[in-house]
């Protein structure tokens, strides 16, 4: 295993090959905010909240820490005026979709993001993909997936699989930062397999 030394927020951090900047920072106890990151899942790079400044050979670039590989001699800054501004805007854009999400509101308070800056669009899903990826990668049930693309992209349960697998699993529920997942599930249940749900309760 190759050991690498990088500097994160002025602190020397050692990382092994294959680690991302985020993992290196976490292992040293340095906090970087994330929404789509989960330690059991492949990095996704979807929420962009883990954006950090990475400096190599005098050049600074903005990278997503959860997918950026740690390299030797890398200089990382996790907080700066620029980063705070970026995270604030990202949070404001996400809050337009899920204005009541506790996770988002906590981060919004930290970065001074305004809930009402952008017109609210009641989609509630912030496309972090935690439920979809957890179901596919950890549970390997593939009961929930994305449909469509762009502004119409949303999550969707496959009723046949959901009726069989979901009532006893529901491991994705606590992962959702907005509770939208639960409502999609309840809707699927109501439309596709209400009887089996009753049987489960009895």
């Amino acid at each position: 295993m190759n050991e690498m030394r990088l500097t994160i927020d002025g602190r020397e951090v050692t990382a092994t090959e294959g680690m991302t900047v985020l993992e290196a920072a976490r292992s040293a106890g340095i906090f970087i905010p994330t929404l789509c990151y989960h330690e059991k899942l492949e990095p996704y790079g979807g929420c962009r909240l883990c954006m950090v400044e990475a400096e190599t050979r005098g050049r600074t670039s903005l990278v997503a820490a959860c997918v950026y590989p740690a390299v030797d001699g890398l200089l990382v800054r996790t907080r700066s005026e620029k980063l705070d501004r970026i995270r604030k805007t990202i949070l404001e854009l996400l809050l337009a979709h899920a204005p009541e999400s506790p996770v988002l509101l906590d981060l919004a308070a930290e970065y001074g993001a305004e809930v009402n800056r952008f017109e609210h669009q009641a989609s509630f899903c912030i496309h972090c993909g935690l439920c979809v990826r957890y179901c596919a990668e950890v549970k390997q049930k593939h009961a929930v997936g994305f449909v469509d693309r762009g502004i119409r992209k949303e999550i969707c349960f496959i009723p046949e699989i959901a009726a069989k697998e979901c009532p006893d699993c529901q491991a994705c529920f606590p992962l959702c930062p907005t509770s939208y997942l639960q409502s999609v599930y309840v809707l699927t249940e109501a439309l596709a397999f209400p009887a089996s749900a009753e049987a489960g309760k009895a």
Partner: protein
């Protein structure tokens, strides 16, 4: 579409999961839409989860999950065609077929779709039916062309 034909298409691509999109495209071009049982068959044979197939089939505009008409009408709404009166051509087609863009008529004769540029702006306004390009359309001509299709 019978599932035997779906199997043939899958075999043609050696049952490789990486050929998923190609398989779906072949089914789409033969059947004009992707029925649920065909998609499930593809998923089982290529060992791809149904959620993934569903994602791909809804992602690309080339795929349709609802039946399409025998004749697919594409009206170009690009800048050049727009300036040359594509809106009037579209109105004529809507009047003649009774359907809006994105819809299919009840007897599965026509499906209507607007597209953003067909790449032959000098022929605008352009209407494409089943891949055949009809250029310099006037509302009158449009109605005539539509009558040729059964």
């Amino acid at each position: 579409m019978d599932l035997e034909r779906v199997d043939q298409i899958i075999d043609k691509h050696q049952g490789e999961a990486s050929s998923l999109i190609q398989v779906l495209l072949d089914i789409q071009s033969e059947n004009h839409w992707l029925p649920r049982d065909a998609l499930e068959r593809v998923g089982r044979k290529l060992n791809v989860p149904y959620t993934r197939i569903h994602h791909i089939a809804t992602f690309y505009k080339a795929f349709s999950l609802v039946p399409k008409g025998r004749h697919e009408v594409h009206i170009c709404m690009g800048t050049a065609c727009h300036v040359r009166g594509a809106a009037r051509v579209l109105d004529t087609v809507r009047d003649a077929t009774g359907i809006k863009p994105g819809e299919t008529d009840l007897d599965l004769k026509f499906s209507l779709e607007t597209v953003n540029c067909l790449g032959c702006c000098a022929l605008g306004p352009v209407m494409e039916i089943n891949g055949t390009t009809h250029g310099n359309m006037t509302p009158g001509q449009t109605a005539e062309v539509l009558k040729q299709y059964e």
